[in-house]
């Protein structure tokens, strides 16, 4: 309810009606509009098309190459089709995931600043808080869609083009094909938590900086810095508090005695990052003085 108080700071023409409107329906309608807006963006479609098309191309390219041994599972890409999606996951965790979500989440608020459309948007019969959750929901929906497509594309392309041989795990054990398939999908699914965290981080930057470029590039740079800090040894609990660490938590699924500690810690850390970033972004948007544009 603090949001209504926040709106009270600068009562606009639409706010009185918004208070009377049914809250849930308003957010839902706004969410659907945000999805329509996202679907119309070339960038959104291009990103989804890329995550669908790129993995099969990479798999085809890998077939003619010497196995890349510097990333986990790289040395097994010719031996098992289940090693390839894990190699791609290891690579994506380092460079791709923050960008995958920030390309939309970093722009979803700042884009309104760029186009000067905040005033038009806020004359609709929805509160700022409802607009916030609608846009956040749309950004999370996009991130989830991108993750599902990337997982499906990587796994299916690898199994079809390389095969479904048993996978050599991270304790030298052999993992039979059906179990390996479940683990590969589980590993990709485990990155949903940090991806949500990066989405929230991009939303925060998008709201605070009001600059789409910073909103998109900021999480990528922060993700790389966190990955770098995490790869330095001797950082104690800092490594576990970073948003990039949960992207590697899936390693524990592939040992002879699987361990879930990093997965649980990673989920908690990601949710804390998400809550903190969304709370700060929500507060910032609701308290913002929107008079220009």
């Amino acid at each position: 309810m603090s949001t209504d108080a926040a709106r009270g700071i600068r009562p606009g023409p639409g706010t009185r009606r918004a208070a009377a409107a049914p809250r849930r329906a308003g957010t839902w309608a706004a969410y659907r509009w945000e999805l329509v807006k996202l679907a119309a963006l070339v960038r959104t479609r291009a990103t989804l098309a890329t995550v669908l098309v790129l993995p099969p191309l990479v798999v085809l390219l890998l077939r003619g190459q010497r196995a890349p041994a510097d990333t986990l599972f790289g040395r097994h890409v010719h031996d098992s089709g289940f090693a390839v999606p894990l190699l791609l996951l290891g690579f994506a965790a380092q460079y791709v995931f923050p960008l995958l979500t920030s390309v939309v989440a970093g722009d979803v608020f700042a884009g309104e600043d760029q186009h000067g459309t905040w005033k038009t948007l806020l004359t609709r019969s929805v509160s700022r808080s409802q607009v916030f959750w609608a846009k956040t929901g749309a950004a999370v929906t996009f991130a989830a869609a991108a993750l599902v497509l990337l997982t499906a594309s990587s796994t299916v392309a690898s199994v079809l083009l390389v095969g479904h041989q048993p996978l050599t795990g991270l304790s030298g054990q052999s993992i039979p094909a059906p179990h390996a398939a479940v683990l590969v999908v589980g590993a990709w699914a485990s990155t949903a938590f940090p991806l949500l965290g990066f989405t929230a981080l991009a939303i925060l930057l998008s709201v605070r900086t009001r600059n789409p470029a910073l909103g998109v590039v900021g999480p990528v740079v922060l993700g790389l810095l966190m990955g770098l800090a995490g790869s330095l040894g001797g950082t104690g609990w800092l490594r576990r508090a970073l948003l990039s660490t949960p992207l590697e938590a899936w390693h524990g699924l592939f040992t002879a005695t699987p361990f879930a500690g990093p997965l649980v810690q990673g989920a908690v850390v990601s949710l804390l990052w998400t809550a903190a970033c969304l709370a700060a972004a929500h507060r910032s948007l609701c308290r913002r003085d929107i008079t220009g544009g």
């Binding site: 700071i9 196995a67 986990l72 790869s231 040894g233 800092l238 490594r239 390693h251 040992t255 361990f259």
Partner: protein, 158 residues
């Protein structure tokens, strides 16, 4: 809420500074806290069974059936010589693996480990003792040597 719009400028400047200080304090505090993820015991505990499984695999490729129990592997690891504590990520880990080969002879292999902060490492085996990048299988085809180099991860909390 209305108070914030009429904040004095001094407090407006102080708020971000306090935020930065809080973040720096948090980073320093977290870095100082906790115990190392990479320890000698964890590296040795993960290397011995991994080596055993991969040795059995390699011998199967070469046409020998070796029971895992007969390998009787043991590892002793050290980081960077006696002067350096045996904890933490680095490319200067050396592990000596004692084992019994398929003919029943005792062998010792020296593995060079590149240990990462994420509790995974790459172990490179001695080519003279355990073969190069590829080995010929029973039908004479060259296949990847499982022991030439392999990746292992261990539980940083166990």
């Amino acid at each position: 809420m209305t108070v914030t719009t009429s904040l004095p400028s001094a407090r407006r400047c102080l708020a971000p500074a306090a935020g930065v200080l809080a973040v720096v304090g948090l980073v320093v505090g977290l870095t100082a806290a906790g115990s190392p993820d990479v320890t000698r015991a964890r590296v040795e505990r993960s290397l011995t069974p991994s080596f055993t499984r991969l040795y059995v695999d390699q011998q199967r490729v070469l046409g020998h059936e070796v029971p895992a129990a007969s390998v009787a592997a043991r590892s002793a690891c050290d980081r960077g010589g006696p002067q350096v504590a045996d904890v933490g990520a680095g490319a200067d880990w050396i592990c000596l693996v004692d084992f019994t080969d398929q003919t029943g002879v005792h062998q010792q292999g020296k593995f060079e480990l590149q240990v990462h902060a994420n509790a995974c490492y790459t172990a490179a085996g001695p080519a003279k003792l355990l073969g190069g990048f590829t080995i010929p299988d029973t039908r004479g085809r060259d296949v990847t040597n499982p022991l030439s180099a392999f990746d292992v991860c261990f539980d940083p909390d166990a």
